[in-house]
């Protein structure tokens, strides 16, 4: 009898084990250090980023870096939806395609400049984002992911079959390079790199502004507990749709950039593998963090390039990386929760001190 109970208990241990949390001591030290030297570190990073093309001076390397930037934008877009709001999308290539196609077609056929065309692409993607967000009224969890998967495939189908506009399976060729005040930006003259840098920074700042506001808090509340969020008066559906729209717009921006860097797109440029690649970047880097998107994009985009010596095995290794990461660091490489105190600005601190002073005086 006791033996049986013992066995049962052991079995329970076997399938119901608890997680072990590693200590956060070193992390805290690093965070405090970065926070203290925020200004000098930022300056060093800025100097490095500006000087980078001159240091490298290599076309091929720069193209890879611009691609990394484009994917970082895509990842930041998906991160709003998946990382912050907790809705897993398996069809974000669809939004990338909408952005890339709208922008490229406008510039190839109507001669629109890059910035106008990109903006148009973002608007179209945003509108489609509303439509894709609508099912969140009824459908949740895995089923929503499945709808997004279907969405990605349908966009691909439209790109293939609406040949009069999209040129069908032949794709769009000779996508013009962006130009600003008569200056054509190419990889060769570093223009493309600085354009990418500017767009990445704008996107990152935008995401940061959204996340550090009631919108971002509502997103995270929905991710944590939908019922409780409803009871806080948060309009769940509206915020989910908003997350879809923001995410779609950012991905369209990334798509437009990608198209002009590569110069050629066809329906298969945006298949399911692209959706999973973006999702893998988000998860590898650390869901719900902005810093993680850069690291995730850098690793997954640079990996096939730097591992050419592994030849055909390198694609096997890509899968191995994903599996190992999920096993040993599922929160992503940079996916930690901050150990620093919640940031209060000066005005709030003063206000609090004032009340405290009043209270002590009153006592």
């Amino acid at each position: 009898m006791t033996e049986r109970i013992k066995r049962l208990i052991n079995k329970e241990d076997d399938c119901c084990q608890d997680t072990i949390k590693p200590g956060a001591g070193t992390l805290h030290k690093i965070e405090v250090f970065t926070d203290k030297n925020k200004f000098s570190l930022g300056l060093a990073a800025a100097a490095l980023l500006i000087a980078l093309p001159f240091i490298l001076g290599d076309q091929y390397l720069l193209t890879v870096i611009v691609k990394i930037g484009a994917y970082a934008i895509l990842a930041m877009g998906l991160n709003i939806l998946t990382g912050y709001t907790g809705l897993v999308s398996l069809g974000h290539a669809g939004f990338v395609a909408i952005g890339a196609y709208t922008a490229s077609l406008l510039s190839v056929r109507l001669g629109a400049d890059f910035f106008t065309a990109t903006l148009a692409g973002m608007v179209v993607a945003g509108l489609v984002g509303v439509v894709l967000g609508l099912p969140t009224l009824k459908v949740t969890g895995t089923y929503l992911s499945i709808i997004t998967l279907g969405f990605g495939e349908i966009i691909k189908m439209i790109a293939m079959n609406w040949a009069t506009v999209t040129n069908g399976t032949l794709g769009v060729k000779n996508i013009p390079k962006p130009s600003l005040f008569g200056f054509d930006m190419t990889v060769g003259n570093f223009g493309m790199y600085y354009l990418m840098l500017a767009l990445v920074i704008i996107t990152a700042v935008f995401c940061l502004m959204v996340v550090k506001s009631k919108t971002g808090r509502a997103f995270q509340a929905i991710r944590a507990d939908e019922m409780a969020s409803t009871m806080m008066g948060i309009n769940i559906t509206a915020y989910k749709i908003l997350a879809f729209v923001i995410s779609a717009c950012i991905c369209a921006l990334g798509g437009s950039l990608y198209a002009t860097v590569i110069g050629y797109i066809d329906p298969n440029t945006f298949n399911f593998d692209v959706s999973t690649l973006i999702l893998s970047i988000v998860i590898l880097g650390g869901m719900g963090t902005i810093r993680g998107m850069f690291v995730g994009a850098a690793i997954l985009i640079a990996f096939p390039e730097v591992s050419r010596f592994l030849m055909e095995y390198r694609f096997v290794l890509y899968g191995v990386i994903l599996v190992i990461m999920m096993r040993f660091r599922p929160q992503g490489i940079l996916g930690w929760k901050s150990t620093l105190p919640y940031k209060l600005n000066k005005r709030v601190r003063e206000e609090i001190e004032k009340t405290e002073a009043k209270e002590t005086a009153g006592d």
Binding site: C15, C16, T142, I146, N161, V323, P330
Partner: protein, 291 residues
């Protein structure tokens, strides 16, 4: 023409149904969309081809491929997914893991066998039957017959055997099943084995229908079979069959009447419409929200 296409679609749909079963079984017990299942299907088909090539008989070759693929399913679970369950990781970690596995399996197939399409023997080609204007090939009949037999066997396993009872118990509440002394991990391994076996059978049938196999064959077929599984109500075996048939018939219709570029997407359009109208698929159960 129309009826001919319906029949072609039904045969194709049986193939999808067999792949869809794999998604359904695993989702039922783990609430996990196993994205590696498409690559398992391709693996099964490729292995069948390799073993048949060894010339120790077609049937033994297929059986060897079934067992090997089933074992591959178990290995995937033991190596990659079980540790995640033990750590109680987020569901998305398992999802990404299966995407990674899918990559590994497909790429290894490419490394060892090459990425090109290779001829698969037409195993069941004994001519075709003419009924009125409809030509039905023996391969199509074989696909339907084998699929229906396999479906029946699976239903019998799930509803009439002790391990099937354990599977259903695990599906309802794996923790409680664990407490009742059911070896949940064994049940899960068994589920992966079944999924691998039915994927191999699907691979052999579809491979001999089109007479080609290639490492990437599981990519689109996997996605469409997955759509079929969800369409019918994931976790339900009759649902997988119905979903597979709907996907097969609509695909064959779309290819004929709309053009071949529509064939791959029609499944997803139907899927989205069904999910919006019935969020848990045609045969799926609805959960009750508790506060």
């Amino acid at each position: 023409m129309l009826i001919q296409q319906v029949f072609n679609g039904l045969a194709l749909g049986m193939g999808y149904a067999l792949i869809a079963v794999g998604y359904s079984l695993v989702f039922g017990i783990l609430r996990l969309v196993n994205f590696s299942h498409g690559s398992i299907y391709a693996f099964g088909a490729e292995m069948a081809m390799v073993f048949i090539g060894f010339r120790f008989g077609i049937i033994p070759g297929i059986i060897a491929a079934m067992i090997l693929t089933g074992v591959l399913g178990i290995c995937i679970d033991k190596v990659a997914l079980e540790p995640l369950r033990k750590k109680k990781s987020m569901p998305i970690a398992s999802l990404i893991t299966t995407i990674g596995i899918s990559n590994i399996v497909t790429q290894l197939l490419i490394v060892f066998l090459g990425s090109e399409k290779r001829n698969f023997p037409a195993l069941f080609d004994f001519g075709s039957v003419q009924i009125g204007h409809i030509a039905v090939s023996s391969t199509q009949i074989m696909m339907c017959v084998v699929s229906l037999i396999l479906m029946t066997v699976l239903v019998l396993i799930v509803y009439k055997t002790k391990i099937g009872l354990a599977m259903r118990a695990g599906e309802q509440n794996s923790r409680a099943a664990c407490m009742m002394g059911i070896n949940v991990n064994f049940v899960i391994s068994f589920t992966f084995f079944l999924a691998g076996v039915s994927a191999t059978i699907a691979g052999v049938l579809v491979g001999s229908y089109y007479q080609i196999v290639y490492p990437n064959m599981g990519y689109m077929a996997g996605l469409k079979a997955f759509a079929a599984a969800v369409l019918g109500g994931i976790g339900s075996l009759p649902g997988a069959l119905l979903g597979g048939l709907i996907v097969g018939v609509s695909e064959s219709m779309a290819a004929t009447f709309l053009g071949s570029t529509y064939r791959d997407s029609i499944a997803f359009i139907i899927l989205i419409i069904v999910l919006i109208v019935r969020p848990h698929g045609l045969f799926g159960r609805k959960g009750i929200t508790k506060v």
